[in-house]
């Protein structure tokens, strides 16, 4: 099956000499939601801008639905909707006019019923005649999303769509994304909210210094790199970890009352049962037990740190 987006050996060097993208190779499947994570300045927005035609690639090729974005720009751009990171809006226009303008700009015949539905889905219907400058930041963000959806894109880029917006809009956004997913829209999302990526993405890509350092199915990533911890609240204080327990990856808290065992969920033997037996044999008892699974955020930080070494 032809990927929705196929990026081959993409490099982007700005006139200043700064290399924003380094040899990017990436296939994005049709209908999937992919989250691109990365620190500020990692190249996420440059990657999106290059695919959308805002920035010119220095070398490499980008195919959208098998079509070259430069040779077949009309066909490829018509398939793509973009919600930019910045709140760039036509301050003096009304919501209705600016959203209708976007539909026309992307070569689609007027369809007021669709614009109405999009505005209703984004809770913008009662603001349709308001000038954009009178709207709050969150509402402006919704307008940008409505503009991108107005021409019924098959691929949607959301560049940090929930940055600086309230919880209500974030939930609305996720609902809209779910509806689009059900309609088969391919979604590429960049975000700083790792729980957002964890919650809605099918695959996670991590970019740092212009390179994709990892692209993986989210669940596989969590399994591969995820670590679990067992935290034991001890009945009696320990001054040091007993010699017989040195084979385990243990950490003793400063107050001596908490013992944490961290293990790899992919390991052949997890060692939890053996640890319990060992503790019992040397008369260390505990009053409570808790477990903790590493989050995507911890995995992300770990990968970025590793790539910087």
């Amino acid at each position: 099956m032809t990927p929705a987006i196929c990026i081959k050996n993409l490099n982007k060097v700005y006139d200043s000499g700064f290399q924003a993208l380094r040899n990017i190779n990436l296939d994005i499947k049709s209908g999937e939601i992919i989250a691109l994570l990365g620190p500020n300045g990692a190249g996420k927005t440059t990657l999106i801008s290059t695919i959308c035609g805002i920035a010119m690639p220095t070398s490499g090729q980008i195919l959208v639905d098998g079509l070259d974005i430069q040779k077949d720009y009309r066909l490829t751009r018509a398939k793509i909707g973009l919600v930019p990171q910045e709140l760039t809006t036509d301050a003096f226009e009304t919501v209705w006019n600016t959203v209708s303008f976007s539909r026309g700009l992307f070569g689609k015949a007027p369809k007021p019923a669709l614009i109405e539905q999009v505005l209703k889905d984004l809770s913008l219907w009662d603001k349709k005649d308001n000038m954009i400058m009178t709207l709050s930041g969150g509402m402006k963000r919704r307008v940008l999303i409505a503009k991108a959806l107005s021409h019924e894109p098959e691929i949607l880029f959301l560049d940090e769509p929930t940055a600086g917006v309230d919880v209500e809009l974030r939930k609305d956004m996720w609902a809209v994304i779910n509806t689009l997913r059900e309609a088969g829209v391919t979604i590429i999302l960049t975000t700083h909210y790792i729980e957002e990526a964890e919650g809605i993405a099918d695959r996670i890509g991590i970019i740092n210094k212009g390179e994709i350092i990892l692209i993986e199915d989210k669940d596989t990533l969590m399994r591969k790199l995820g670590k679990k911890s067992v935290i034991l609240q001890l009945r009696e204080k320990l001054s040091t970890i007993p010699h017989s327990l040195t084979a385990y990856d243990l950490h003793l808290s400063d107050d001596g009352y908490e013992l944490t065992y961290t293990f790899d969920t992919q390991g052949e033997r997890l060692g939890v049962t053996a640890l319990m037996d060992e503790l019992k044999s040397i008369n260390i008892s505990f009053k409570d037990i808790d477990t903790k699974k590493s989050s995507l955020e911890e995995i992300f930080v770990q990968l970025v740190e590793e790539s910087q070494q």
Binding site: S49, A55, M56, T88, D90, F92, G104, L105, K108, A109
Partner: protein, 253 residues
């Protein structure tokens, strides 16, 4: 051809004109009326006739050119500069439109506004002086070509400018002086011999001269040269726009 996109840009730009009616239409009408009062009545009362035409009527084509040139440049330059300034240009760059369609939309709207304005000013002039248009089609030819050519120039300025100062630089320091010195308010014959030759170096003189010929059949230079000059300016503007888009200058990073 993405007709929907051209129509969307055109409608969007025209809507801006009607949203800012005072600035876009009323203000040039007021300025033109003031020119008629000051130049036509105050100075015109001392200069009875120029080439057999009353001074008030003589300055009508020049005044029209002054408004057409400045408004065409201002409308088109602002039209494309504003999305760059606000950042909404991202949408234009990511849309399935060719640069030819972008130019058609923006320059078409700017030229339409100027044309509309020119006709309104012409009607306003009718209140102050008796109007006579000897060659209406030639008048429309000059009017339309001037609107298109200077809207293209404005579009080029809007793309080149990266701040508001640059946006104003050429209209204020180049266009306005050239129009004032291009025979808007006088005939080149009224200048001393040396300055008559210098005036011929002013490209705007040829536009005003040709335009005035379409009204009163009097001109400073041969009307054929005026037609050739306006076509030359148009070709130069089209070539420059084509070069800009060929290189992606100032738009795509």
């Amino acid at each position: 051809m993405n007709f929907y996109a051209v129509k969307a840009i055109y409608k969007f730009e025209m809507a801006r004109t009607f949203r800012t009616l005072l600035q876009s239409v009323v203000s040039p009408i007021v300025s033109t009326s003031l020119y008629f009062i000051v130049f036509g009545s105050a100075i015109g009362s001392r200069i009875q006739e120029v080439d057999g035409i009353t001074y008030g009527s003589f300055i009508v084509p020049g005044l029209l050119m002054l408004s057409l040139l400045t408004q065409s440049v201002a409308n088109a330059s602002f039209g494309i500069y504003f999305p760059k300034f606000t950042g909404t240009i991202y949408e234009l760059l990511s849309a399935p439109v060719s640069m030819r369609e972008v130019v058609l939309g923006y320059v078409g709207a700017a030229a339409s506004k100027s044309l509309l304005l020119g006709l309104i000013i012409l009607a306003t002039a009718g209140f102050f002086v008796p109007l006579q248009i000897a060659h209406p089609f030639a008048m429309l030819f000059f009017l339309i070509l001037t609107c298109i050519t200077f809207s293209l120039l404005g579009f080029i300025i809007g793309i080149w400018a990266d701040n508001f100062e640059k946006l104003q630089l050429i209209p204020l320091l180049v266009i306005t002086p050239l129009v004032f010195l291009g025979g808007s308010f006088y005939s080149v014959d009224m200048l001393p011999g040396f300055w008559q030759k210098v005036a011929l170096l002013n490209p705007v003189l040829y536009l005003i001269s040709g335009f005035r010929w379409s009204f009163y059949e009097i001109s400073d230079v041969n009307v054929g040269i005026s037609v050739a000059m306006i076509l030359l300016f148009l070709s130069m503007a089209i070539f420059t726009v084509w070069r800009i888009f060929k290189t992606g200058y100032q738009l795509r990073k």
